[in-house]
Symmetry: C2
Subunit: 498 residues, 2 copies
């Protein structure tokens, strides 16, 4: 092995150990830590982050990367590690340390200011912080951007490398053109779908037992993973042999935990299937936010809400809740879990309306960054767009512009990845259906051929190959939103018998 690379790996090991510690602290804080631990623990996590940062930009790291940047004797994985570390270093070097520190300090405070503002429905108290965040984000994007690149494109590039407004504009235009009218046809027929059978009292311990079965059924490996409870479901991982998901069980909303567990399992299976060569390196995670989301959505929606999937599984759900479900047919159950209904909250949105929530955020972010929209005008614009696209209007900012944490964390340009993830999923699923008999596999009750296919095509590459390349390798074409539109149109036309 290249000797310099070997030395680089010693630094990487330190960095990965620090990163894993931070991941574990965050997991622990969300799932178990005692309430009063917060402040003292935050101090330690802050120190671990600083130590991680110091490693990233250490003088020796800089030298090694300089020497390895053009090395020709590296494997594909090794080259990807060098490229990733180099990008981090370059991005970091462009930002004046003083400004970086200031922004970090702002970020350390801003989410709790947002949380309080949301709780008290008080946008005014969050606005000045958000202004500063927008300002810092623009400045940093300015430092980072390539010649001729717009600020928002530089932001998008952080989350979805190589994706630009030029690609996203037609994507969202298509959504607006096709999905908004589709939704208008769907809504009037909703009265025929009564979900009250799923609103009975379902014992949460029994829900948990069923969800544990379900996670294993879709491919979550409990020898390499943990399922726990937290306020909001999430996935996190230390390496490919320790990936963790959470769920939250609502007594009166049976399908909530079911689909959050399938969703998080989709994320987790991705992480579990990353090659041993890549795990515990800087390219040991998923290819991008969007590609990660594609794997959770594919599992949750394309697989998990299909009739074929539930044919062998629904009897087991009935077994768990015989008194509740004996009178509910599989056909009706499928309609219920696919009911599309415009709402105010993105995280509670169904498959059809979800992308419209994202579209609204995309339009707003673009305007915010190019300066045509001011922070103080956000609530009004937000509410207007919800009325226009979804036909619902928030009664307060808590259910409106204050609902998401992202901007308070400085994540501007992240939202599009959620919609892209759905679109990637549809594009990948289209190929999967041509290469293996998905329906037959689902009916068989053994999903292994599906997870194997995903492992082979997507998971094992971790972040070694970028999303754009992966999409091309798997589907033979570049990103194409058509598959997503077609998928939604076909599915909802069938379910709603339009």
């Amino acid at each position: 092995m290249n000797q310099k690379y070997e030395e680089l790996m010693q630094h990487v090991e330190k960095m990965e150990a620090l990163k894993a510690a931070i991941v574990l602290f965050n997991w622990d804080t969300e799932t178990l830590a005692p309430p009063q631990a917060t402040d003292l623990t935050a101090r330690m996590v802050g120190s671990l982050s600083s130590q991680y940062f110091e490693e990233t930009v250490s003088a020796r790291m800089r030298e090694l990367l300089g020497e390895l940047k053009d090395a020709e004797d590296l494997t594909e994985a090794q080259a990807a590690v060098v490229r990733k570390l180099n990008k981090n270093l370059e991005d970091m070097e462009k930002i004046p340390p003083e400004e970086y520190r200031e922004f970090s300090e702002l970020q350390a405070r801003s989410t709790s200011i947002w949380a309080k503002a949301k709780q008290q429905d008080d946008f005014e108290s969050f606005a000045p912080v958000l202004k500063k965040i927008v300002d810092f984000s623009k400045r940093f994007a300015g430092y980072r951007r390539k010649e001729g690149q717009s600020l928002y494109d530089a932001m998008l590039d952080e989350y979805e490398e190589g994706f630009t407004k030029e690609m996203l504009d037609p994507f969202f235009a298509l959504l607006k053109e096709q999905i908004v009218p589709l939704l208008k046809k769907v809504v009037p027929k909703n009265d025929a779908i009564d979900v009250s059978p799923l609103r009975q009292s379902y014992d949460t311990a029994k829900q948990e037992a069923f969800c544990r079965f379900l996670a294993g059924y879709v491919g979550f490996d409990f020898a390499r993973g943990v399922l726990a409870e937290s306020e909001h479901p999430f996935t996190t991982g230390l390496h490919n042999r320790d990936v963790r998901i959470t769920s939250h069980y609502y007594e009166n909303v049976l399908e909530s935990a079911i689909f959050s567990v399938i969703h998080e399992s989709g994320h987790a299976i991705y992480e579990m299937n990353v090659d041993d060569e890549l795990t515990q390196t800087p390219v040991g995670g998923g290819a991008s936010c969007g590609m990660h989301e594609s794997q959770s959505r594919l599992m949750e929606n394309m697989i998990g809400r299909s009739l074929a999937f539930w044919e062998p599984v629904y009897p087991k759900l009935r077994e768990a809740f015989p008194e509740h479900l004996s009178g509910l047919s599989l056909a009706d159950f499928i309609k219920m879990i696919n009911k599309a209904e415009p709402g105010l909250i993105r995280t509670e949105a169904d498959e059809l309306t979800y992308c419209l929530h994202v579209m609204i955020r995309y339009e707003i972010e673009k305007d915010l960054i190019d300066g045509s929209l001011q922070v103080e005008d956000l609530p009004a614009v937000w509410n207007e767009k919800y009325e226009q696209y979804l036909g619902v209007k928030p009664e307060n900012d808590k259910e409106g512009v204050l609902q998401d944490i992202h901007w308070s964390q400085g994540s501007i340009g992240y939202f599009p990845s959620y919609a892209l993830g759905n679109a990637f999923a549809a594009q990948i699923y289209h190929v999967m259906e041509q290469e293996i008999d998905v329906d037959k596999i689902l009916r068989s009750g053994d999903l292994t051929p599906i997870t194997n296919w995903l492992k082979e095509k997507v998971h094992r590459f971790g972040e070694m190959r970028k999303t754009k390349q992966l999409l091309r390798d798997i589907t033979g074409e570049d990103f194409n939103p058509r598959y997503y539109i077609d998928y939604l149109t076909k599915k909802f036309t069938e379910i709603y018998e339009l």
Copy 2:
């Protein structure tokens, strides 16, 4: 504040963050982590340990400590921090780095070799490793020891600063002289105590609920702590606002979890009560292993096995298990939980025989280190001593010399702390009974005056004051094993009506 000290604190913060991460990983491994995570996680914990070690002996740390060693403007807490860091550094500097590395590598393997040997009852396979451990321990103690200090005294000093063979020999001689004969009078009367009511089937979920109540009752603060399950009960902590204990619930041994939870709560309350000024510093833990053990044993035995304690609590236990306990009187319950019966396993020993298990290990360690006993002769000597002092003989090494993990971890000189802890507890308890009306407090159902007294006298000082000093401050005299002997004699004479 002293500027150099302030800079030192920046290094301490890094070290404390790394230490906390290691603590959290260990907690997680014992309580939650998926089975296949072990190897990759161990690699990361290894890296964090190395990073911690690097900080401990960094050039800047050395300089700062040199400058601060004799500083006169430090508070008592600050001076204790400097002293502790300095001791670590000095101890470390005396050991040749190559040997340190070799021993660390040996330690990384030795516990699993021991575990396998124990499982397969195969002392032969562990003997060569143990020989190497003894050899390294002697060499390291040789590097560390002060002039004229014996090797074993240098080892004892690691765990119980200032304690020597000269102090321990009369302590254990007294135990041998007084407790061995006492036990011989107790054993024949054991037939009268039938513990079968505690061997019924007790629902483990109900046990857990009761133990959770019990932990809170003795002072464990759930706003600052967590109670979970693991194979063997233990206590660990990140700082004084996050202290964690585990228990293990056996369906047929009601008292097992009860007393392990009280025991671990005793440890935890100590950690929770350390002053804010000391937590997250190198002197943020307990004064010594023995002092820590004194707090768990005082709570478990002096408090937790007393009649006064159970007067308000036993009705609650009966409420939890009415069918099992309605026929069992409090008086009989007290006899059962204080039954003294010689056995083979230290961790399962009762209050009376426990110190004899430790005495055997003390005698063996001394001979092993001064060379009068060879590793290959250990099993025979072990079995002989068990027969002589406890009247029982191990049928195999699994239940004999292989039962404890300590030697495989390189912890030689640690065992005496267990017996010392009990003796410290008795000495401290003696003073407590003079200063507050313990019995009345226990009967009142509110233990706060007791935990407050312990906080005031012991807990708040963390490791700032050494055990020898604390004992003197609290009791007005040096370590005096007489109180322990008197306590055991009085208690068991009463219970067994001798």
